[in-house]
Subunit: 319 residues, 2 copies
């Protein structure tokens, strides 16, 4: 019997951008088609050139469709820059690198939103257009916008992250609009039906917390009988990608980063997967854990980690 048949489905993954998209791609390649649902952060969404742009949804979408650019970590492979080049020539700002293929998707999504579609519906139409077998669910349909408090004042997330390259010192976050967000039927149903829930190796503060800030979402996970496993985004005391480690330093978390993340997810986790480079921290963790190689490069390493995560989750159910 192939191992695939032993894996319980459905599986729900909570994901931000690059790290989340990588593990999601590994899970999709490991699970039967349609077994995976990815709930994606939309706190990074922003308005640019009059268009609503959803960076994390698109990173997950491109990753699961296999059309992502593995060099940059964002955007499309084989991208062209006809629009951006001309926009700069005409005097427009170009700090957010919108490629032509990427822009085509934004234009379609905005058209559908203007016609009254929900963000959830647009994500589903796009993943079908790109032949993605997994469901991709925005964490909610209402606009939630992550505001970054820094020593230079408050910055909308993309200003902090892309334009300012995370240079201002991080002080904290507000998820503007989260209080008015509601659990979408699709997110609620997927969590209730989940046989396993996985928190991807995404930034806990910037990518996962906005998802958990949607009223009722954290409680729905806590009410689930499915094992909840988080994969550490920290490798050897630093984030592989993005500003997580810098932010944690600026928040005063200088050591024992895996433990810090486990404590951050207090009351939510049944198990934790940390990188083998942080194995020395494993004994401090107050819950079942697995130390393994969490670095994902090509699809084989994504699949290997995905299989380990699923196997670890199953072992928690058995226990």
């Amino acid at each position: 019997m192939a191992p695939k048949h032993e894996i319980p489905s459905p599986v729900v993954a909570l994901a931000g951008g690059v790290g989340g998209a990588k593990l999601a791609a590994g899970l999709q390649a490991t699970l039967p088609p349609g077994a995976l649902t990815v709930i994606v952060n939309t706190g990074d969404d922003f308005e640019h050139w009059g268009l609503t742009i959803c960076p994390d949804i698109d990173t997950v979408l491109y990753g699961l469709a296999g059309v992502n650019n593995p060099q940059t970590g964002w955007g499309r492979a084989g991208e062209t820059w006809g629009v951006l080049t001309e926009t700069e020539r005409l005097g427009g700002e170009a700090w957010f690198r919108l490629g032509d293929k990427d822009l085509a998707l934004h234009l379609l999504r905005n058209r559908w939103l203007n016609e009254g579609a929900t963000l959830t519906e647009t994500a589903d139409r796009l993943r079908r257009a790109l032949a993605v077998p997994s469901r991709i669910l925005p964490m909610c349909n209402q606009p939630v916008r992550t505001l970054v408090h820094t020593d230079e004042g408050d910055l909308p997330f993309q200003d902090y992250f892309v334009r300012r390259r995370c240079e201002p010192t991080f002080r904290g976050l507000t998820f503007v609009g989260a209080g008015k967000a509601t659990l979408s039927p699709e997110v609620a149903e997927s969590l209730r039906a989940a046989a396993q829930i996985i928190i991807c190796p995404s930034n806990p503060y910037l990518s996962v917390d906005p998802i958990l800030a949607v009223p009722g979402l954290k409680e729905t996970i806590q009410a689930s009988a499915a094992p909840v496993v988080a994969v550490s985004p920290i490798v050897g005391g630093r984030a592989l990608k993005g500003p997580a480690a810098k932010m944690m330093r600026e928040m005063g978390y200088l050591e024992h980063l895996p433990l810090t993340i486990v404590e951050h997810y207090a009351g939510l986790l049944d198990g934790f997967i940390l990188d083998q480079q942080d194995r020395a921290e494993q004994s401090r963790l107050p819950l079942p854990s697995l130390a393994t190689d969490t670095i994902m490069t090509g699809l084989p390493s994504k699949q290997r980690l995905a299989a380990e995560v699923l196997q670890f989750g199953r072992s928690l159910m058995a226990g």
Copy 2:
């Protein structure tokens, strides 16, 4: 003394798309920099992919900037199609051929409009970005939308013109919103200051009538002391470009097309320029006229016609 210095300035031209853009380019090359103002039809404007698109303004802009595509008559030279190709792949409609360079301009204009700029301000920013010395004025700042009445029902202009290729039988037009439009200060001042007013060889019904439908605009032209000269869009009984001749046939105008156009502009013109192929009709015209070669291909032929139009206008002032 060079002929340029004899030409009275400022000159105002009323223009639609391709034919208007060609004569405007000839006038710009003939007149001193800044002497030309082009008042452009916005009745063809429409919303596509959530963006307000201004086909005639852009055709004039591209023509005056020398970045137009002379093969197609619309759009940019050296255009690329990255966005449209991907939009089609993702399931979007693509009947309106939006190139990447073209789209860059639409995105910028929409951004500025969303920030509160008037259509007039956006046109001015764009012509400066493209180093166009002439002013390009939308006929008004309010939305006016040409609705085409056909044997198949009412069609928004771009649906009739681009998507349906003018195939439905033409019955008439309504300029929706024209009653609520107001003369912009820029249009009013340019007309009052004009030493010559030229109606370009654009479709009288589709391109010039919407301009004349802006309340007060026709009256401001009539109150001007400047000679008003129209250039016939008909050559040898047919329109060089676009649906004018077909529309006129469908309205029952089978003969004497130059006279029909002069009568259409009744009370507005001081002189009329018709093509030499229609010279037989010249004796029927109830106003001063000049028969010449009105076919414009490269810049030399545009400049030659422009110089003749300006010279003819001056002769009317002297008379």
